[in-house]
């Protein structure tokens, strides 16, 4: 009897520890590749480098960073970029996915073509887009520089000054370079978003659409009351993807505008690169990285709350 109880107790302990043991490899990997860099970044944000080594400086890096003009400017630029990038990519992606969902002839071929931008590195896309509009020497510079099309002196995308802001110092309307950056970034992100939405659209039964049409619903009504609600969880996933890439990606800015002209496209991710790898202010760069992580969490959390996607998908 006692022997039986002991065995049962041992078995129960094993049952409890087995899941932990099974999870251990994954936990170790997570600790090494995710938690360690995250905690190291937080630690680094509280340090400053001196010839003798690292020294704890409290919140100095945050204070110094917040007091720079470029930090404040980069917040405005990030908002403008993010809104433009998300709105343009999501709406174009939805339109393209809807067109491809109508069983066009050669739709497979169009899909293959559409996928090309996604296969290119963003840094390469930025370089190509930059070459197109170099003043005087770019392929498109002749067209853009035509005063008849862009009065009074034509448009030089990479060097044109930003228009006077409408709302205090908030950078709106954006500089032509920012608009161009949004276009280039959307061009690259479009295939993925389109495919994501197309896959979701293909799950909607045609019978529902047909029934709605018989009941007299027009295209806009169908989109608004049937299609969008049914693909809403996918739209939110697409939105998360765009928020994260929009806030964090630096390759396109690096190769297309390098933050310019002046500081007109200095978004937070580029400021982070600049602080870390151009100014070698690793402490301040880490402080900005922590802030950006908080921004990402806030945006994702806010989006989940507003869309209540967790409840809808539950």
């Amino acid at each position: 009897m006692i022997k039986g109880l002991t065995i049962r107790r041992k078995q129960s302990r094993t049952d409890q520890s087995l899941p932990i043991l099974l999870l251990l490899p994954a936990l170790i990997v997570l600790l090494v590749v995710q938690f360690f860099p995250a905690f190291y970044t937080i630690w680094l944000s509280l340090q400053e480098r001196f010839p003798t080594g690292w020294q704890f400086v409290g919140l100095d890096n945050y204070r110094l960073l917040v007091n720079t003009s470029l930090f404040k400017e980069s917040i405005g630029h990030t908002i403008v970029f993010l809104v433009g990038y998300i709105v343009l990519t999501l709406s174009l992606g939805f339109v393209l996915a809807s067109i491809l969902n109508t069983r066009l002839r050669l739709s497979g071929f169009y899909l293959a073509l559409l996928f090309i931008p996604w296969t290119l590195a963003d840094i390469l896309v930025g370089m190509v887009f930059r070459l197109l509009v170099y003043p005087d020497y770019g392929i498109l510079s002749g067209i853009l520089g035509n005063p008849a099309l862009f009065p009074p002196k034509g448009l030089s995308v990479l060097t044109a000054a930003r228009p006077a802001p409408l709302f205090g110092s908030f950078p709106f309307p954006p500089a032509p370079a920012m608009v161009y950056l949004i276009l280039a970034s959307s061009w690259r992100a479009l295939p993925f978003i389109t495919l994501l939405l197309l896959a979701s659209l293909q799950t909607i039964s045609q019978e529902i659409i047909e029934s709605a049409r018989i009941d007299g619903a027009n295209t806009w009504g169908i989109a608004r009351h049937i299609t969008i609600p049914l693909i809403f969880p996918t739209l939110v996933v697409a939105l998360f993807n765009l928020i994260l890439t929009g806030v964090n990606s630096v390759g396109m800015v690096f190769s297309l505008t390098a933050g310019g002209p002046g500081t007109a496209t200095f978004v937070m991710s580029y400021l982070l690169y600049n602080l870390g790898w151009e100014r070698l202010r690793f402490g301040q760069a880490a402080a900005l990285a922590v802030m950006m992580a908080l921004v990402n969490w806030a945006l994702i959390g806010g989006t989940m709350r507003v869309t209540r996607v967790d409840e809808r998908t539950a």
């Binding site: 065995i7 041992k10 078995q11 094993t14 087995l18 043991l21 099974l22 251990l24 490899p25 170790i28 480098r49 001196f50 010839p51 003798t52 080594g53 110094l64 007091n67 720079t68 003009s69 470029l70 930059r130 170099y134 003043p135 005087d136 020497y137 030089s156 990479l158 060097t159 000054a161 930003r162 390098a258 933050g259 310019g260 002209p261 002046g262 500081t263 007109a264 600049n274 870390g276 790898w277 151009e278 100014r279 070698l280 202010r281 690793f282």
Partner: protein, 470 residues
């Protein structure tokens, strides 16, 4: 628990431990193979000891033999000198170079030193990066060792000074001095390149009437604001301006600087410089290459990159190598000149030293010292280093008169140096990377973005921002 479950759990635990041990062993440094047990006395002669690796980081790639490559001259120099060095130190050292991007190398080194990663024994260094390295503790102080070497007394003291950190340590050994000069299409200036600002503006108007620009320069904020160290510094320093107060603070709001900015602003507003001046990515060079712009202030090493060339009379230099510029200079199509300066002022521009440093944590300092001695005790090698390795003028006096420096390019460069008061832009500033960016953002705003902005206000804001940081 039954026996089957128990043994399964044991196997799982053992497997995990093996995986963990493998992971840990992969992270550990490679073990030195244990010496084999002596058996019998070896019959063969003892093999020569293996040469120790001498590791370097240069912006050049010894494997790249493409003559049209941007760094073709440096690549060839490195390739040939690696062979020479390996021959001179056969059996002792073997030079292994890792090519690095010129604008990322310093950051990589600092990160590597701080993380305890692999560092080279020698790294190519530009003088204005010295304060940054000194702050980050990434380079060794070579003063005591250098002062004891026979070549030390024969070096240009000015160049040695630029290698000195804020704490007085000598953090690099300079091999070349790079003067900033103006490359000029000679045919476009029948009365020679203007010497005063008034003459410059008169010539600018004349050239505009002919459908050309008087000048192009690096006017964008690209490359971390390095434009502040190039053409912009040439103009500001020629006006007698400065970026610092001599005590480590930024000083921009001075009458000389304001006059220089007004001059640059005039060039923009009146259309005397092409739009591509402000595009970044070194695209401003295109306007000089096709002679739509009559001059370009840049470093002497610019001759390597300004190619292909089309002279104002249509003559083409299209080998796509540095020979294009050398031939254009030989033909008298391109000449080197100092920049214009206001009446009573001496023209100026940048002067930087380039050489090598020994990183902290370098495994083979002995080889690094041998390398430096090898270069500086052979005037021909030192001359070749300055000529092809850095495309500058030698810092070692003995190398100055080597035949390589008697060509038109270097004779004209020496004349520019003598006619100008060239100086380093960094002065007493320590956070040079931050400084150049803040300066260039302010200059760009005033010269291009908002030509009505109040110059003293913007300059004051910029210097305040730098001085508030630490």
């Amino acid at each position: 628990m039954n026996a089957h479950g128990k043994s399964g759990l044991m196997w799982l635990a053992v497997s995990l431990m093996i995986v963990l041990a493998l992971v840990l062993s992969a992270c550990a440094p490679a073990a030195t193979p244990a010496p084999s047990q002596p058996t019998q006395a070896p019959a063969q002669p003892t093999p020569a000891p293996e040469a120790k690796v001498f590791a370097t980081w240069y912006q050049f790639d010894q494997e790249n033999t493409d003559p049209a490559s941007d760094e073709a001259v440096g690549n060839a120099w490195l390739r040939e000198n690696m062979a020479k060095f390996n021959e001179a130190f056969a059996g002792k050292y073997k030079w292994v170079n890792t090519p690095k991007a010129w604008d990322k190398m310093d950051a990589e080194l600092i990160a590597a030193v701080q993380a305890g990663g692999e560092v080279p024994d020698i790294i190519q260094i530009t003088d204005f990066k010295i304060p940054m390295h000194a702050k980050n503790g990434s380079l060794q102080d070579l003063r005591a060792w250098a002062e004891a070497q026979p070549w030390y007394a024969g070096m240009d003291p000015q160049a040695l000074k630029t290698c000195t950190g804020p704490d007085g340590g000598l953090y690099c050994i300079p091999f070349a001095e790079i003067p900033y000069v103006v490359f000029v299409w000679a045919d476009l200036f029948p009365n020679d390149y203007p010497k005063t600002i008034d003459q410059f503006l008169t010539e600018a108007e004349r050239l505009k009437g002919e459908g050309r620009y008087i000048m192009t320069y690096f006017g964008s904020t690209d490359k971390g604001g390095s434009g502040a160290t190039r053409g912009v510094w040439t103009v500001i320093s020629s006006f007698g301006g400065t970026y610092d107060d001599g005590k480590g603070n930024m000083l921009l709001n001075t009458p000389e600087n304001i006059a220089a900015i007004e001059f640059l602003r005039t060039l923009t507003v009146k259309g005397y410089v092409p739009e591509v001046t402000f595009a970044g990515g070194f695209q401003e060079e295109e306007a000089f290459k096709d002679s739509s712009a009559a001059s370009i202030p840049t470093a002497l090493f610019g001759y390597r990159y300004l190619r292909p060339l089309t002279a104002p009379d249509g003559t083409k230099y299209e080998t796509m190598t540095e020979q294009d510029m050398l031939k254009a200079i030989e033909d008298g199509k391109v000449v080197l000149r100092p920049f214009a300066a206001p009446e009573g002022k001496k023209p100026s521009g940048g002067l930087s030293a380039r050489g090598v440093g020994i990183p902290k944590g370098a495994k083979n300092r002995e080889a690094a010292e041998a390398f430096i001695n090898w270069v500086l005790t052979h005037s021909d090698i030192a001359a070749d280093y300055a000529l092809r390795g850095e495309s500058g003028l030698p810092v070692l006096f003995a190398a100055y008169d080597q035949p390589q420096f008697q060509g038109k390019l270097h004779q004209q460069a020496k004349a520019v140096v003598q006619a100008s008061a060239l100086r380093s832009w960094r002065g007493s500033l320590e956070r040079t990377a931050e400084a150049q960016m803040i300066i260039m953002n302010a200059v760009y705003k005033l010269v291009k973005e908002d030509v009505t902005a109040d110059i003293p206000t913007v300059l004051k804001q910029a210097e305040d921002e730098y001085n508030a940081g630490k």
